[in-house]
């Protein structure tokens, strides 16, 4: 019923940015190369006020991607039905072009931990995650995208690769994938594998959106580089190169720049979106 009036049925293969309220006026005036916006679902679950008013305005001019950060799809327990109902309410009200969540967990029993926590990749977790995604897609009545995480450690209990895990989840549930190339770079560096090999093995045909973001550098106990997915600075050149490598193989996709901490003035974020747009143009050429 809503779809009949849906102004933006899908995300365009253009660059987008993670929306920050401090950029509202500039985006509404001139968004430059930015063709769509992504919001964190949980920030728009209040009853009213400025957040929902801004979102209503934005959604009249831009395709919106709703990106959940609190559903805990990788959790051991059942999904939080209240939270799922809030997501359904938001999606029914906003009718966004896309909904995505993370291959991670963030809640356990009564505690919400406000971080994207890791899980091992094996048959037990595969079944659990697939069941949760089936439930999400059934409740929301739409396909969702599942994002690859940033990893700082691995599990003895894993017996398959992350790319294999994501491929099987996508094939089994029909969900699309959200490929975060910064997360690939961070995880590959941290766990000692090739980011290009990860891309080569990724189910690129199922990718509905690509993310880019900045990370910080640290060291582990052994003095090896330990990259932290902080979303607090510009995307570094090796990640832009990994994006080019990916787009050559996947073709163009909706491409998002995330900058969530130490949020810059609009011109700096717009410049990152410009660079993302240039990467898409290059891939088209």
């Amino acid at each position: 019923m809503l779809d009949a009036n849906k102004p933006f049925p899908s995300l365009p293969a253009k660059s987008g940015v993670g929306y920050k309220p401090q950029h509202f006026a500039e985006i509404m005036q001139d968004a430059g190369p930015v063709g769509w916006l992504e919001i964190h679902a949980e920030n728009y679950m209040g009853d009213g006020g400025r957040p929902l008013a801004q979102l209503r305005h934005l959604s009249e001019s831009f395709p919106i991607s709703v990106h959940g950060v609190g559903l805990s799809i990788g959790g051991e327990g059942a999904l939080d039905s209240e939270h799922l109902a809030r997501l359904r309410h938001l999606c029914e009200w906003l009718n966004p072009a896309s909904f995505s969540e993370h291959l991670a967990w963030s809640s356990h029993e009564s505690a919400f931990l406000n971080d994207l926590l890791p899980l091992p990749y094996n048959t037990v977790t595969l079944n659990r995650v697939a069941d949760h995604i089936d439930q999400v897609q059934e409740v929301l009545g739409r396909q969702m995208l599942l994002e690859n995480p940033s990893s700082y450690l691995a599990f003895e209990a894993s017996d398959m690769s992350e790319t294999e895990f994501l491929r099987q989840i996508s094939n089994r549930t029909g969900c699309g994938l959200l490929l975060d190339v910064n997360n690939v770079f961070v995880s590959a560096t941290n766990l000692g594998y090739s980011p290009q090999a990860y891309i080569d093995d990724f189910a690129l045909a199922n990718v509905g959106e690509i993310h880019l973001g900045g990370h910080d550098e640290d060291e582990d106990d052994a003095g090896r580089p330990l990259l932290i997915d902080s979303h607090g600075r510009e995307v570094i050149d090796p990640v832009w190169a990994l994006l080019d490598y990916t787009l050559e193989r996947s073709g163009v996709r909706p491409l998002l720049v995330e900058w969530d901490n130490d949020v810059p003035e609009w011109p700096l974020l717009a410049a990152e979106a410009e660079r993302a747009d240039a990467a898409l143009q290059k891939a088209l050429a």
């Binding site: 920030n43 209040g46 009213g48 209240e82 505690a111 931990l113 406000n114 000692g192 106990d221």
Partner: protein, 252 residues
């Protein structure tokens, strides 16, 4: 299999060892790598409290605030993914925190800050216009019942909570003096505004919230405070768009 129980406990208690079965990707155990998650959880929740309670940060100082916030988040991590609601229990935690017991006002200042946040996210409502009062026949005015907008909040306190908040949040604000203060929060459009209530204002508004008539609420306030001034508080409610509805019991 309760792997997430051990993982969660270790995230919230740095004295616990790193959970078993975690690797660094190079054949050794994860060690310090687990601290990335521990740090993300701790810092992001301290930041959320910091953002939500700026006057408490000023009153305690940055370092003290971070210490108290760290203890609080370990004792009471969020119970929902809606971070906009995190910290509802923080005022009571401050009141029960032994080193802070002598600063009895902290709890009420924190209640005021949390109420500002609730007001910010509350449902929209169309306020009545001042002339809507004129639509009511003078002889019926006493029996009118007032409904406040969903974004209105009343904070009563035995401490000068409004002045403490303002002194810490606004440059050049007057120093607080020792007295009880009650605060009305309204949200004319999108930004909540605290108003210091005149004497009796809290009694009046509590009676209004309990759906007493205008006359009954005013008389309750006047009984305790002979200088209670109905027109001042009605003017505040109207000018700050805090009334969503007027009703008369006898009318359908």
């Amino acid at each position: 299999m309760n792997n997430h129980t051990a993982f969660t406990s270790a995230l919230l208690d740095p004295a616990l060892p790193v959970p078993e079965g975690l690797l660094d990707g190079f054949g050794a155990s994860a060690g310090k790598r687990f601290s990335v998650y521990r740090n993300n959880v701790t810092v992001s929740l301290i930041d959320a409290l910091h953002e939500g309670f700026p006057a408490i940060v000023k009153l305690l100082g940055e370092a003290n605030f971070s210490n108290v916030a760290r203890d609080y988040l370990r004792a009471e991590p969020p119970s929902s993914p809606l971070m906009m609601l995190y910290g509802r229990g923080f005022p009571d935690y401050l009141a029960a925190c032994p080193p802070l017991a002598k600063f009895g006002y902290l709890c009420d200042v924190a209640r005021l800050e949390f109420a500002l946040r609730e007001s910010y996210h509350a449902a929209d409502a169309t306020p009545i216009a001042p002339q809507d009062f004129a639509q009511i026949a003078p002889e019926q005015l006493a029996q009118v019942k007032i409904t406040l907008t969903p974004s209105a909040r009343l904070i009563t306190s035995a401490w000068p909570v409004f002045s403490l908040w303002r002194y810490n949040m606004q440059d050049g604000a007057e120093k607080p003096i020792a007295r009880a203060e009650s605060t009305l929060i309204t949200r004319p459009e999108y930004d909540p505004i605290p108003h210091l209530l005149p004497s009796g204002g809290d009694i009046f508004l509590n009676a209004i919230i309990a759906q007493n008539s205008l006359e009954e609420a005013a008389s309750q306030a006047s009984e305790k405070h002979s200088n209670f001034d109905l027109s001042t508080i009605l003017s505040t409610l109207l000018s700050s768009q805090a009334i969503s509805h007027l009703s008369l019991e006898d009318q359908p």
